[in-house]
């Protein structure tokens, strides 16, 4: 599609009907109701597919938001790079694989893309958010709001580094 797009894409993916898998789309609902969207486009879907590579076109910054069982903390935040993993052959691609498709079809480096992963507990069909996930969602929403108030790749990279440092500090503290 050739229409104008906003420079920031906030892309939350997951299934609203599968417990904590709804975390990504729910963060979008928070942003839509609490922040001035300005130059932000919101995109929500069940899972990542090849076509989503085209949604990265014309963006200055992209924030993917997903539920994850493997977060170190309540949420993780990291910059993404293109990666040709095996997820293209499944129902759901990884964000890195989407970036790799972008690189293949556009013959250029994708825009700066980051992944905000929110720790999830359960994915049962028909269940709502777990109590722990609800709490983590609010923390992640506050964090995302800070990011979107400072839409600069360097700021987001620093924030990602801070999350890493914080996690290392917490791990060291836990080990005594």
């Amino acid at each position: 599609m050739t229409s104008e797009v906003n420079s920031i894409l906030l892309f939350g993916y997951g299934n609203l009907s599968r417990g904590d898998d709804a975390l990504g789309p729910l963060l979008l609902e928070f942003v839509e109701s609490h922040l001035n969207l300005g130059n932000i486009d919101l995109l929500s879907d069940f899972q990542l597919q090849i076509e989503h590579a085209l949604d990265l076109e014309g963006r200055a910054l992209v924030l993917f938001v997903d539920a994850s069982v493997s977060c170190a903390g309540p949420f993780d935040f990291a910059e993404l790079s293109p990666g040709r993993d095996k997820s293209y052959s499944t129902h759901a691609m990884s964000p890195s694989a989407v970036l790799a498709v972008y690189q293949t079809v556009k013959k250029q480096t994708p825009p700066p893309c980051f992944l905000l992963s929110i720790k999830a507990e359960q994915f049962e069909l028909g269940s709502g958010l777990s109590a722990k996930a609800e709490s983590r969602l609010m923390q992640a929403c506050q964090f995302a709001a800070q990011l979107l108030h400072n839409p600069a790749p360097d700021f987001w990279r620093q924030a990602a580094q801070c999350r890493v440092n914080l996690q290392e500090y917490e791990e060291d503290a836990a080990e005594g």
Binding site: M1, S3, D45, F46, Q49, E51, Y88, H91
Partner: protein
């Protein structure tokens, strides 16, 4: 006819080979073969092994929820289920198709064209083009859309963009690319705005050009080995689908038309609300999918094919000019009244994609598509039938409600069910003509999957599987002892872990 391969005379001394699951199709199914000591195929079946029970759990819901609920049947053609249910509940509020407000009718048609375009693009480019471009028995690592994007970047990208355009049509009307809302009882819930119309209109000429290019591509592929493409998995059958009152190709609303393999009319202009008078379904013990047939011809010879091949075969003309030129060439190629080549499903599918692109442009240029008179009301009824031509073929939704508007009975005949017998026949044709007597290999077995894929089946009418799934082929003797096993892992690696 290859029905002699449906059930072996005896299973004694026969080896069983299973392709389970079938990859790059919607949902889950498997193919089983029984082979004798000389590798001659004695039995071949396509089994649908999942059971979903949608008709049962719809019961007890208020009818107005149906267009939203039934979308969950499918992640790839939710709009078809949405619109079929929408047409059925129109009748529950006393609205016949001809009484639907014109703006709502046009908006629904626009939505449906977007749906069929994206689904056909997905099927051809994402699922089938790896077989067609690289070869049916090519390196397994090549048989995926990523390899197409690498080796044929222009073709791959056009396919991805064609699909995305269809999804954008859906998003502009329903708010989301998947599982949005649009149809309500008696009409539509939101008008198309001028900015949404202009957004879609800005790209439509490019989409038509790409769709026309896709038809050229499939003609080139088909023509590259004409006898093979005309004969592979090919069977002679009856064909069923909707046509308009004057016989034109019709995807949204029309009467039922069935023709036999000679092109002779079996039934025509049938009111689809009376489908029960013409179509029955047979149950067989080895599959969860029923076997529909035309009542007038009986179980043995009354089975039929639906979908793009049936629609292009059955219609008298296509109302958009570029697609009509392609239809004429398509029909002329066969040399007889009907084209029976199973691989010609791809060709017919892309002619329809071109028709959809042309039709989208026509509708976008019609100011009435942005009209605000969107809902009509009539007298309550207790029974409603909605039939539509989904991407994969004729789709029936039939509901009964009580005085409290609660659904008491539901019957769905999904497109793939209608192609059940035909897919089994095509599997048997490939097994008999291309596999029998040969040694088992993964590339060889992909031929069976190629035959199934041509129908674009939605085996569960559920979510979509892109790429390959893990696959395990087991060879067991008549006692059930494992003799041989070939494992295809999710990354495409092949492991041969037992025997030779």
């Amino acid at each position: 006819m290859y029905d002699y391969l449906e059930t072996a005379e005896t299973t004694e001394n026969l080896r069983r080979v299973a392709v389970d699951p079938i990859s790059r199709v919607e949902g889950h199914g498997k193919i089983t073969l029984l082979l004798d000591q000389d590798n001659q195929v004695r039995q071949a079946r396509l089994h649908i092994v999942e059971f979903r029970g949608f008709e049962r759990f719809i019961q007890g819901r208020p009818y107005w929820e149906l267009p939203v609920i039934v979308q969950r049947l499918c992640g790839i053609c939710p709009v078809s289920h949405h619109l079929a249910a929408g047409k059925a509940i129109d009748q529950l509020v006393g609205i016949e198709p001809e009484n639907l407000p014109s703006a709502a009718n046009k908006l629904r048609r626009l939505l449906h064209f977007g749906q069929v375009l994206q689904s056909h693009a997905l099927h051809f480019f994402h699922l089938s083009s790896p077989d067609l471009l690289f070869g049916f028995e090519s390196d397994i690592n090549k048989r995926n859309i990523i390899a197409v994007l690498n080796d044929y970047p222009d073709i791959g990208l056009q396919g991805v963009k064609l699909r995305k355009y269809g999804q954008e049509v859906i998003r502009m009307i329903c708010g989301k690319r998947i599982h949005g809302t649009g149809a309500v009882a008696g009409g539509m819930n939101k008008a198309l705005t001028q900015s949404e119309r202009d957004y879609l209109l800005s790209d439509v000429d490019q989409i038509i050009a790409w769709a026309a290019g896709a038809v050229e591509l499939v003609k080139k592929i088909h023509g590259s080995n004409l006898p093979y493409y005309d004969e592979f998995a090919t069977i002679r059958s009856n064909y069923l689908g909707l046509t308009s009152a004057d016989g034109a190709l019709e995807l949204y609303h029309g009467g039922l038309r069935a023709k036999n393999d000679q092109g002779e009319t079996i039934v025509d202009h049938v009111d689809y609300c009376r489908y029960n008078d013409y179509i029955h379904e047979e149950v067989r013990s080895w599959s969860y999918m029923k076997f529909p047939y035309l009542l007038s011809l009986g179980k043995e010879t009354g089975w039929y094919r639906v979908g793009p091949l049936a629609r292009i075969n059955n219609c008298d003309y296509i109302a958009t000019p570029m697609a009509e030129v392609e239809r004429l060439e398509f029909k002329a190629h066969g040399g007889e009244a009907m084209v029976h080549s199973t691989l010609a499903f791809h060709w017919a599918r892309l002619i329809e994609a071109l028709h959809c692109a042309e039709s989208i442009k026509e509708l976008l240029n019609d100011p009435e598509v942005m009209g605000h008179d969107l809902v009509a009301q009539g007298e309550k009824r207790y029974e409603g039938v909605g039939v539509i031509e989904a991407p994969r073929g004729t789709l029936f939704h039939h509901y009964q409600v009580d005085e409290n508007d609660i659904v008491t009975k539901a019957n769905l005949i999904v497109s793939t069910t209608s192609n059940n017998m035909a897919m089994n026949e095509s599997v048997r044709q490939v097994a008999a003509e291309y596999l029998s007597g040969r040694e088992l290999t993964e590339p060889l077995l992909n031929n069976l999957e190629v035959a199934i894929r041509a129908y674009d089946p939605c085996l569960s009418c559920a979510t979509h599987a892109v790429g390959k799934m893990p696959l395990q082929l087991e060879l067991v003797d008549v006692e059930g002892r494992l003799i041989d096993r070939l494992i295809k892992h999710g990354d495409g690696a092949i492991e041969h872990d037992l025997g030779g």
